[in-house]
Amino acid sequence: VSTSRDIERYAGLFAARTRVMKSSAMRDLMAVTARPEVISLAGGLPDTSTFPPDTFAAVAQRIASESCAKALQYGPTEGLDETKDCIAQVMAAEGMRVAPEDMIVTTGGQQVIDLVTKTLIDPGDVVIAEGPTYPGAVPVFSAYEADVVQVDMDSDGMRIDLLEETLDRLERHGRTPKFIYTVPSFQNPAGVTMSQPRRRRLVEVAHERELLVLEDNPYGLLRYEGDPPSPLLSLDGGVYVMYLGTFSKILSPGIRLGWVVAPPPVLEKINLGKQGTDLCTSTLSQLMVQAYFEECRWRDYVESLTEVYRARRDTMLDALADHFPRQAEWTRPAGGLFIWVTLPDFIDTTDLLARALRDNVAFVPGEAAFLDGRGRNAMRLNFSGSNEDAIREGIRRIGEVVTEQVELYGTLTGEHQAVRVDEPVAREATPGDNVLPLPKRSARPRRAEGS
């Protein structure tokens, strides 16, 4: 059989909503980033090479000898109780206590975004998201024809004052959003964390306005410094906050295992949606997690990942300070996988990516994190998926092309600005600014701590 690639044959059959699932120049450029010679700081990959193969073998052996038939069978849509026990442990580690019947085990965290959107959104309904937002959520919202309204952030996460203004404005137009999507800790892509007061206020707003919130928390346990603020779920007590968790960043994204916690009436609808999508989450993957949790101290592995990623984050922050011109600004994440860089607005990062690819280095252009065309002068950098040498070299190369463009712009406008600042002058944000624009430039003195 030779399948037909002739799209015209099928074009008339596609649903209208597939029209918004569009390809773009950026996506075509991203296709080039997968080539082996490219240092890609574009992905969002955890480093699975740190997982011990012996452990994997022991886990597989245990399933084969103890629960072979079960592992090969369908399971309940909501997930196995054994797996829910493991989930309860993970959530307890972040200070949340959840009953097994209040959660559903899903095929990765991504499925939660899909199921929640499927459950709540009719075409044209409003979803509130952060600006920038998780690029992987964009195609989900688009597929369900949601109208996404993005609320700006600063170094303390989503600006709740702006959120309220936005809600007021929508209300005046007779529109009520169905839910607010947020990644409050170590946000993807911005790397910032929502402060405790803002978390409290967000939960209050949700209660006052009777709005659901989807708290997406894939990285909460990957904290490299400081104390964790409370999860929205624990502040809310499970009334308006739905919670998304995943094993992807603390164990493996390949096993595709996540979960959702939601109020029972919502959970029931999500359950129905999941039945239609895939009947149940992989039993094999669920048993692997169970065997792994019994076999090992899972927190030790998370601890080891934290060590590795902290060093990589520090390397990237140092390299940024060394190689990026002073016109660039970036966030300093206390955890997670990403740094968000903002360049002068005369630089278009999609075009810059084309230039960077000539030097075999890649990043995610900021426009991927917005649905409204903003973000064109920003980029997302991932530090978890590359080793320190690659990070240093990758940042050096990107810094070089950014510097080149800043200089060229200076030449073109006749404003010959000094591009390099080699002496450690004050580069911190101005004191007295209690609301810092996102992104906040990394404070130079931090370097000494890291090294």
Partner: protein
């Protein structure tokens, strides 16, 4: 039946488009009964070509390497016949600055332009000449890299304040860029197959804005009218201009020439593409279809032409 190596992908920024062109060509070649070897062009190109020992190479690549004469040169060395234009035509057509200078010399109308290398700005103070250029070309001005296809890196500068950022963007793709007079009018494309112009295609953007990268490859973003409905005599005039451009640059077998029909009724040539897209939304296949040539026939003809040209 021939053994045909389909060269696609590569490192070009138009990799994705090329993969789609290539996949469609492979399908067609298989339906025609050819023995098809698909090659995603990379480090091992020569080794794999020697291994495959094809009778002919079908170059379904766009942009850098595939369309600029690089791969053609390698195939010459390996003595493998290939589809489309030769090295010289590829070099001329890919370099928009060179192509436009040749057009002017040959009396083919093309929008007025000024071209600069990055060095001119960095070392020769060319920025000081920008106000004079802006006055001459009038806003909006089109700023584009000299050698990139697919509208990547093409910006519209609506005022003097937009020009520097537009230049920075264009220099992301090439070390030479051009500032070109914007022609307000209709987007036309004339494809040529074996020295014969095909029906004119008009691209009509459905939204506002211009025919950009997205619009070019997405079904639904742009409507194509073929044959284009043009005032008397203009179809022939467009075809004649396209053919002259194609011949001027030394293209062979097939190609596509993009033109503008200005609001003043004047035709101008923007550029020539030695390897136009062969995807579902591409213009050459549509033009061929309008002339009663199916995609399979089109691909078959292109292969035959390559084999005919090859020394026996």
């Amino acid at each position: 039946v021939s053994r045909v190596a389909v060269l696609k992908g590569g490192r070009s920024l138009e990799r994705q488009v090329s993969l789609r062109s290539g996949a469609r060509v492979e399908d067609a070649l298989e339906r025609l009964g050819h023995d098809v070897v698909a090659l995603d062009v990379g480090q091992d190109l020569i080794v794999r070509l020697r291994e495959a020992a094809p009778d002919v190479a079908f170059i379904a690549m766009h942009g850098r390497d595939g369309e600029d004469g690089t791969v053609q040169e390698l195939l010459e060395i390996l003595d493998i016949p290939y589809t489309g234009s030769g090295v010289l035509a590829c070099v001329r057509a890919t370099d928009k600055v060179l192509a436009k200078h040749l057009m002017i010399e040959a009396g083919i109308p093309t929008p007025e332009f000024f071209a600069f290398s990055e060095t001119a700005f960095r070392e020769l103070g060319a920025a000081d000449a920008l106000p004079a250029i802006e006055e001459r070309l009038e806003f909006p001005i089109v700023v584009k890299p000299s050698s990139q296809g697919s509208a990547l890196g093409i910006k519209f500068a609506r005022s003097a304040a937009d020009v520097p950022a537009a230049l920075v963007a264009a220099f992301s793709y090439d070390s030479r860029v051009l500032l070109e007079r914007y022609v307000d009018g209709r987007d036309l494309a004339v494809s040529i197959l074996d020295g014969e112009p095909l029906p004119v295609v008009e691209a009509v953007p459905t939204g506002d804005g211009f025919y950009d990268f997205e619009a070019r490859y997405e079904i639904g973003r742009t409507e194509f009218v073929c044959p284009a409905t043009l005032p008397d005599g203009l179809t022939e005039q467009a075809q004649e201009l396209a053919l002259r451009t194609y011949e001027l640059l030394g293209c062979s077998a097939f190609g596509r020439v993009d033109l503008m029909l200005g609001a003043d009724g004047e035709l101008t040539v923007l550029e020539a593409n030695p390897i136009p897209g062969l995807t579902e939304t591409s213009l050459l296949p549509q033009a061929a279809e309008a002339a009663g040539i199916s995609f399979d026939e089109l691909v078959g003809r292109i292969v035959e032409l390559a084999l005919e040209r090859a020394p026996a």
